[in-house]
């Protein structure tokens, strides 16, 4: 986590032009991904850190220096903040060569040794031999690499990446992911990556911060955020389809289970004593925690909850099939699971067929029920 002296810390609040309510911290060498649907304010947050947008309230500090403080009126200009920024469409200087673009990123572009350092930076991003090319003579991926080299040329105290992979095709993107993962091992400064792609964040970031409507909802290691969302809104945003409401019945420390009443039945779930018996809760379960019942009906484990339902309209996604199952019970809840295509065929899954499912209680995660100020959970758009 962030040391109080080094790294980047930002508290940003404003009401207009778009509401922001964010707290972030990013340590030296750490990659923090700001993830949210488009319009969630993540790019504006990045612009606040860069000094390209001045928020109404807040404080931004980097390596012990105050970049912005609404209280004291301190507001360092962009040019003096020592940031490296990679823009979504790279914003290279179109009239300058790759090398000249990198040189412009340096404090003293005309200084002795600058050109050699520029070449070295371009070598580092695998662009040796293309130093004299103008941006329009480079492919999208090559332009992105020039932008990264230019951002690093300043030896920035913070590296800011604004959707740096969104403007290239998929195969180039995969390659660039690898290169960034490799490059980041050498980076000593905080790196903030803005993306709408949760998968990308999981691959590249040490921590992710989930944003919606300008508010940072939850920050933590990617898998933790995805499997243990703090709220129903986060659960929806990270793409969890199986989110339901129930009531806590009892806790059993000896067995390591909590019993939840749902849809007229009892579910054994991982022990989560944060919610008292009798409390209403929301619970989520990743699609990977919903399994087809093996033909040998006795194979269920201790935390397996067996439910029956009717298969709904299936969707084939490549070699996987998304199967919605309408669970028999009081409220006809709709569970979703994803199974490999061959399994769907061997089980002869078809719409209208009755099916038994195992819900893996170990993966069931409890959250406060969703009656917060943000309205029904269905409002949030998924970013996964």
């Amino acid at each position: 986590m962030t040391d109080p002296v080094t790294g980047l810390r930002a508290t940003i609040r404003q009401v207009v032009p778009i509401p922001l309510d964010a707290d972030l911290s990013c340590g030296p060498g750490e990659v923090l991904a700001l993830v949210g649907p488009s319009g969630s304010g993540k790019s504006t947050l990045l612009r606040c850190i860069a000094g390209l947008h001045t928020p109404m309230e807040g404080r931004i500090e980097c390596d012990g220096r105050t970049w912005f403080d609404a209280g004291s009126g301190a507001n360092l200009s962009t040019a003096r903040r020592r940031i490296g920024m990679v823009f979504q469409h790279y914003a290279l200087f179109p009239h300058l060569s790759a090398l000249e673009n990198v040189l412009e990123g340096m404090d003293d572009p005309d200084g002795a040794g600058s050109r050699e350092r520029g070449r070295e930076l371009l070598r580092k991003v695998h662009l040796d031999g293309l130093e004299m090319r103008k941006p329009h003579q480079l492919s999208g991926g090559q332009q992105q690499r020039v932008a990264v080299a230019r951002a690093l040329a300043r030896e920035p105290h913070a590296l800011l990446l604004d959707e740096p992979f969104s403007a290239v095709d998929r195969s180039t993107r995969e390659k660039l992911y690898g290169e960034l993962a490799e490059l980041r091992r050498e980076l000593k400064m905080p790196v903030i990556l803005v993306t709408h792609d949760l998968e990308e964040a999981v691959m590249l970031a040490d921590r992710v911060s989930i944003l919606s409507r300008g508010k940072t909802l939850q920050t933590g290691p990617p898998l933790q955020v995805m499997e243990r969302p703090a709220t129903v809104e986060v659960a929806r945003l990270v793409g969890l389809r199986n989110v339901f409401e129930g009531r806590v019945l009892s806790h059993h420390r000896d067995r390591g289970t909590t019993v939840v009443e749902w849809n007229g039945r009892r579910l054994d779930v991982r022990l989560q004593e944060g919610f008292p018996a009798g409390a209403r809760v929301a619970w989520s379960l990743p699609a990977s925690g919903v399994l087809l019942m093996p033909r040998d009906r006795n194979a269920g484990g201790i935390l397996d909850n067996i439910v029956e339902g009717t298969v709904g309209k299936m969707v084939t996604l490549g070699n996987r099939v998304r199967v919605p199952v309408r669970v028999h019970g009081a409220t006809e809840a709709l569970l979703t699971t994803t199974v490999p295509r061959h399994l769907a065929e061997s089980y002869a899954l078809a719409e209208g067929k009755t099916l038994s499912l195992r819900l893996r209680g170990g993966q069931i995660h409890l959250m406060p029920p969703d009656d917060g100020p943000h309205g029904p959970a269905g409002d949030s758009r998924s970013i996964a």
Partner: protein
């Protein structure tokens, strides 16, 4: 051929161009990127010389710069001669009626620069001056150049304003456009013809030059 008139015209055109270059760059950038109260009004006022009859503009300038106004008196007390019917007076008038020709193409050129490119320059730590020198001017220069060519050609050919404010005094305020008119009045069609052909040639050269450097496929630095 009235060489004095031609030389005076070329001097006036060059001086107008040189003075309007920084003013046009400043105003063009400002109008392209800043939002301020009354911007639409400023833009409308700037465009006024485009539609106003030159004699009308010349009349108002003549009145405004004459010895009866504070401006005229102030100028006279400072330099010992009146502003109207002098080269300096012509230059002031020329600057005013050429403003839209200088500012508008430059404004369009600066508007065409992507905002992120300028933001990227700030993120690179560039000073305002370096930003102007290394990024803005190189990207906007076709627009800046065509503005300058327009101003030059337009000043050479201006008649109404120049006659109203300058009075066409030989060797002092008689530009080549006025000299052509005088030749025709004196039934010297041959003399008028030679001078007209000279102006035509200069204008064609100027326009040709600006097309050569700014047209796609021509010589352009960021290709």
């Amino acid at each position: 051929m009235d060489w004095t008139a031609l030389s005076l015209s070329l001097q006036l055109a060059s001086a107008t161009m040189l003075v309007l270059l920084p003013i046009g760059v400043w105003a063009g950038r400002k109008l392209a990127w800043s939002r301020f109260r009354g911007k639409a009004l400023v833009e409308a006022l700037l465009a006024l010389p485009l539609v106003l009859p030159p004699t009308v503009l010349g009349f108002y300038l003549l009145v405004a710069m004459g010895g009866a106004t504070p401006l005229g008196r102030w100028y006279e007390s400072l330099f010992g001669h009146q502003l109207t019917f002098s080269f300096q007076g012509l230059l002031v008038a020329s600057l005013i009626f050429n403003l839209p020709f200088a500012v508008q193409p430059m404004q369009r050129a600066f508007e065409a620069i992507a905002p992120e490119v300028r933001e990227a320059a700030l993120c690179c730590g560039m000073s305002r001056l370096r930003l102007l020198r290394r990024v803005e001017l190189p990207l906007a220069w076709p627009g800046v150049l065509s503005a300058m060519v327009l101003v030059f050609a337009h000043t050479l050919g201006e008649f109404g304003v120049v006659l109203m404010v300058g009075g066409g005094i030989p060797g002092k305020t008689r530009t080549i456009a006025i000299a052509i008119y005088d030749r025709v009045q004196a039934f010297d069609t041959a003399g008028a013809g030679i001078m007209s052909a000279t102006l035509l040639l200069i204008s064609m050269l100027a326009i040709g030059l600006s097309y050569l450097v700014t047209a796609p496929g021509g010589f352009r630095r960021h290709d």
